[in-house]
């Protein structure tokens, strides 16, 4: 051990020295922070053009979704300089603006002739503005997204299954038009043997740690006409958040979870949903449109075997909003280079390439193109979904609001505690407390 000690010290010095030397390498690099998922790989590909044009190197910090919000909000709140650019989640915009994490982009847009009219209004509203709808921009819409569904087209097309389904439910086996139809289909597939393997109905979001179960359950809640407030901007939640429709929707989501998900599906989000679908476990799955290009390309379940559909309505047509805008971080030392990237990214040609690589452009030059709907099998559904998107609170206190909802939903849906009404009542209590702390109530 003596020898160990003697070798250890020089080793430390050597490694420290090399670490320091590594840091100072390139000044002309900027770092973009985002989640680790398919579109991020597409963005790496796209950004090579930027480096080629400007000579500015791009570094990336991609964090898996379950840790993304936690890590990145921590980074912002600690005033870190890791990221020069951030593609932050839509709900962060309030906090990003009010706490001074994001650079306000209005002047820059004016100077560079970047017009927000060139981007789909729903995405500008959701990803860029704070306060909501005001012409104060803190991000450029980068990635449009909503929660949608996909199913095993090949199974749905089987005559034997079609016949069995028709006999049981009296209608054709086809992508569901309502949430209740979706549950019927899921029940139909649950536990069924197909090609000698046991299959399950549906993969939905039940994750506890970040935002999973909220993003999943709101798909049902919005379809039943769920509203956060009776009067927008008044924070009067009693009777809205816990309305009979909301209770019904939440009960529905729990039933769907109980009846028709694969075993061990208690803490599942995007990756688990993809996993279940790609391994042939489930007939249907929910997930963000962002993954659809990758799914369509999949060797095992892609191509002819996969079909897509927009979140079915129940009382109303609605989808849960995903997607992000790209922002410049106020703590960065290279804000000018970061702005240069945004300027480059906003160009219609770049936006077109972005869509072709698998990123969901929000630019009207892409979306209003007559060929857009047919450019991909899910493109039309995407436009449909984006028409009816609803988002979670985008308040600066969004994280607190989200954590409460995660807890109340998971306690009720997965951990079997209390009733749906009680869960939503408690949620109102939690949220009331938050808004009181905020001085908004």
């Amino acid at each position: 051990m003596n020898r160990f000690f003697k070798t250890a010290v020089p080793l430390v010095l050597a490694t420290v020295a090399s670490g320091v030397a590594g840091k100072a390498a390139k000044a002309e690099d900027i770092t973009l922070c985002w989640a680790a998922w398919d579109p991020a790989n597409a963005l790496v590909e796209l950004s090579k053009d930027f480096t080629a044009e400007t000579g500015v190197g791009m570094k990336f910090e991609f964090v898996p979704w379950p840790n993304f919000a936690d890590r990145m909000l921590n980074e912002l709140n600690s005033g870190g300089k890791l990221c020069d650019l951030m593609i932050g989640d839509s709900q962060w915009i309030g906090g990003g603006a009010e706490n001074g994490h994001y650079v306000k982009l209005n002047e820059f847009f004016d100077k560079e002739n970047i017009s927000m009219d060139d981007f789909a209004p729903a995405t500008v509203y959701a990803y860029s503005t704070w306060p909501k709808g005001e012409p104060n921009y803190y991000a450029l819409p980068a990635m449009g997204d909503a929660n949608g569904w996909f199913y095993r087209k090949d199974w749905f097309a089987r005559p034997d299954l079609q016949a069995a389904f028709k006999e049981k439910y009296g209608r054709d086996l086809a992508p569901p038009k309502t949430q209740l139809e979706l549950k019927d289909i899921a029940e139909f597939f649950q536990g069924r043997e197909i090609d000698g393997q046991k299959r399950y109905g549906v993969a939905i979001f039940t994750e506890r740690g970040s935002e999973g179960i909220t993003m999943g359950a709101t798909g049902a809640l919005y379809a039943w006409g769920f509203k956060y407030e009776n009067t927008p901007g008044k924070y009067d939640m009693e009777g809205a958040v816990n309305s009979p429709e909301a209770v019904e929707a939440l009960e529905f989501y729990k039933e769907l979870y109980k009846c028709c998900t694969p075993p061990g599906y208690t803490d599942s989000y995007m990756q688990e949903s993809l996993d279940a679908f790609k391994s042939g476990q489930v007939a249907m799955a929910m997930n963000w449109f962002a993954f659809f290009p990758g799914l369509y390309k999949d060797e095992q379940v892609g191509g002819d075997k996969i079909g897509f559909f927009v979140n079915p309505g129940q009382k109303v047509e609605a989808s849960t909003l995903g997607g992000q805008g790209i922002s410049v971080i106020a703590y960065s030392d290279k804000k000018d280079l970061a702005l240069q990237y945004i300027k480059w990214f906003a160009q219609p040609e770049v936006q077109k390439k972005w869509w072709s690589l698998g990123g969901y452009s929000c630019h009207v030059a892409v979306l209003n193109d007559p060929g857009f709907k047919d450019s991909q099998p899910f493109a039309a559904d995407f436009l449909l979904a984006m028409d009816g998107v609803q988002d979670f609170w985008q308040e600066p206190a969004y994280a607190e609001l989200l954590l409460s909802m995660q807890k109340r939903l998971h306690d009720y849906v997965v951990a079997d505690q209390g009733t749906a009404k009680e869960a939503l009542d408690k949620l109102i209590e939690d949220w009331t407390e938050v808004f009181q702390d905020e001085g908004k109530l």
């Binding site: 160990f4 420290v16 670490g19 922070c33 600690s78 870190g80 890791l82 990221c83 993809l274 390309k297």
Partner: protein, 316 residues
């Protein structure tokens, strides 16, 4: 526990001894199963790693290790056809999965961070701890017991509780997500262990040596450096390994106070994802590489383990 007489009455009987041995060996084997399993999972293909029933016999593959150190993108067969033939075995392995290597993963960086922060903080805490331990052992310090207890009590705080003000402090002075910040923090946590352990080791060195040196005309400082330090070498090495293991394994502070630049391996390993879910072979590979040094150290340390884990309270 050598008995004074060969036919001691307290020597356990043959059968009892055999029974004891059998139970302990079975326990040891069972306790190793999880570690062995994660080790072999590192050599499986992703398909084999999630097969049912779990596969014990399989064709070993280095895919987990390749995936651990690279990021890869899936490509269409058309695109793959345009590529020049693979240059290395790992290129070939990745291509066989319809993917190409896009670049190195963050694992190497995170591992390096673990090494820099681990060794840096170990060096500092042992340095400070040696000095303080010598002083506590040899000199009369007012309120020494209180001070020593105070030094120890700092370890009773839940790490999250400590992290709240540290987060604010580091944010103010710009130490968030820096190697230096983490080294200072781990040093602070470890120095209490170092002082307690090293004081025990110094206590065991007879003072006569120093006194002889003092009489020979050494100053106190010279006596410390030339007489005491060499005698402490083993104790210092053992303490250093304990500090290193703590810094190496630490998770909560690293999770809360680092994000990209200075993040160590423990918060990173669980986030290794492949295509569709967690990439278990890559995690197996990462866990194996990460745990291996600690396993080696544990074996080296086994004689001092007891002292280390009880802050020197039990010395055998």
């Amino acid at each position: 526990m050598s008995s004074t007489t060969a036919h001691s009455v307290v020597e356990p009987g043959r059968y009892l001894r055999f029974f004891a041995g059998a139970v302990v060996v079975v326990y040891a084997l069972v306790t190793m199963i999880p570690l062995v399993w994660i080790f072999i999972t590192g050599f499986k293909t992703p398909q084999d790693s999630i097969s049912y029933p779990p596969k014990v016999i399989f064709e070993p593959s280095l895919e987990g290790y390749v995936n651990l150190f690279t990021t890869r993108t899936r490509q269409t067969p058309d695109y793959m056809a345009t590529l020049p033939p693979p240059e290395t075995w790992y290129d070939e392995l990745v291509r066989s999965r319809q993917m190409v290597i896009a670049g190195p993963s963050k694992f190497g960086e995170r591992f390096m961070n673990s090494i820099i922060i681990g060794f840096g903080s170990t060096f500092l805490s042992v340095f400070l701890g040696t000095l303080a331990a010598y002083a506590f052992s040899r000199f009369r310090i007012p309120l020494a017991d209180d001070l020593l207890f105070f030094i120890l009590s700092t370890r009773m705080m839940p790490p999250i509780a400590v992290a709240i003000p540290i987060f604010l402090m580091y944010r103010t002075v710009g130490l968030s997500d820096t190697h230096l910040g983490m080294i200072i923090l781990y040093t602070t946590v470890n120095v209490s262990l170092a002082v307690w352990l090293l004081k025990g080791f110094v206590d065991e060195i007879p003072r006569e040596y120093e006194e002889a040196a003092l009489i020979d005309g050494y100053t106190r400082f010279q006596a410390f450096v030339k007489v005491v330090l060499p005698q402490m070498a083993t104790g210092i090495a053992a303490t250093a390994i304990f500090c290193l293991i703590f810094a190496w394994n630490e998770y909560a502070f690293a999770l809360l106070l680092t994000s990209g630049t200075a993040q160590t391996a423990p918060p990173f390993i669980p986030t290794i994802i492949g295509e569709g879910g967690l990439d278990w072979p890559a995690i197996g590979a990462g866990v194996t590489l990460f745990l291996l040094p600690v396993l080696v150290f544990t074996i080296l340390l086994r004689k001092h383990l007891l002292r280390g884990i009880t802050f020197g309270a039990v010395r055998k």
